[in-house]
Symmetry: none
Subunit: 124 residues, 4 copies
């Protein structure tokens, strides 16, 4: 697994791990029942604390993306693709909501905000 940690980012390391694992699952790079690297090995590879990796795995399990089998390891959960997609979309939508609210408070109009959005997405 190729996970890239940005130490100076404001995003906590455990969230960076979570997000990248989710992205791999979304991108079919990780499939159902695939095993994730062990907490210790990933920690060693990324040169971070094992506790940090564990926290990421715990939260992924809590959100239903993985299943941990005691003594064996952490596996990608058999998940309803539809439901997963819905989760991803909700996350993106709620971030858009926040940004749009902020723009509103700053006195920007609907079309101005849409224009800003289009500028960014067209850089794709």
């Amino acid at each position: 697994m190729r996970i890239i940690i940005n130490n100076s980012s404001m995003v906590p390391i455990y969230e960076q791990i979570m997000e990248q694992v989710k992205a791999m699952i979304a991108g079919k790079e990780l499939k159902e029942n695939d095993i994730l690297p062990s907490v210790r090995s990933l920690a060693k590879e990324l040169k971070i604390s094992a506790l940090t990796v564990k926290k990421a795995y715990d939260l992924l399990e809590e959100e239903g993306f993985t299943v941990t089998v005691h003594g064996k390891g952490t596996y990608v959960a058999a998940m309803n693709t539809e439901r997963m997609l819905e989760e991803y979309k909700k996350e993106v939508e709620s971030e858009f909501e926040e940004t749009i609210q902020k723009g509103k408070r700053y006195g920007l109009g609907k079309d101005e905000i849409r224009e800003l959005f289009e500028i960014i997405i067209e850089e794709w």
Copy 2:
């Protein structure tokens, strides 16, 4: 000044104050050379520490929104409206950028993301 503090929010209080002051400036509720409430009086009103208010005011000054005169008070800076608007837009754009990147990592396509955005902005 009507500022509303959400104590249980994860957003630090001083950022909540900053954002609301910025919004008031953007919304012409606060105009150039208007004086802000004193550090102490606002602290009392919001039932928070004076240091927390001071931190908000310090950062607002750093960002050029206000000017503080020792022994007199904190005033809304005479700011180039154009420049201010540009700052606001940059902030909104960079948030859109982040959300779009996240959507990408989740395997969403350009048009899917645009669709999510449109759903939200049409709720305006």
Copy 3:
């Protein structure tokens, strides 16, 4: 008297007044026994508090530059020109001392510092 106050300077207003009065005395713009504007009138002219002007006048008197006659006003003191010049020089010297010390701590050499000084003074 033409005194210019910079409200946004970090230098306290009373020191700005003191320094400019001293400069006028040094520049013969103000001579022995000349009367300074009254505390109230100068305060009004500069749109500052009378207490601030009074503080400046008090300190000038303390340093021997002026004499205040109760009920009449504040006059430029009959001062030994030699002694006055010495005071001015000491003040300038001690500021140079501080700056040079700082340069030293920053690892700058004697000649580097002298070079910086020459750059500035040649802009005269």
Copy 4:
């Protein structure tokens, strides 16, 4: 780290800390990626509040001298030595500028001021 605090100085403690840390970086006593003492430990050592140390560290980070990693500590930034030197020089220059201006206002001539400077720097 040997930092010396002068409690009775008019210079705020956090500025004293900042300046001494900068001097250590300039003097190679602190090198890139070296870790600074933790906020708490330095506060304890200097017998001052942790907040005061934190303020110093925050400002050092803002000026680009250090990088703070949440939960890990504060490190000396990988800084362009050239750029750093330029910053130091600018600071010294602007202080010279101020002192020279003051001398001017006091009626001192260019050569008189240069002479005062030479007296001080020759004491090196």
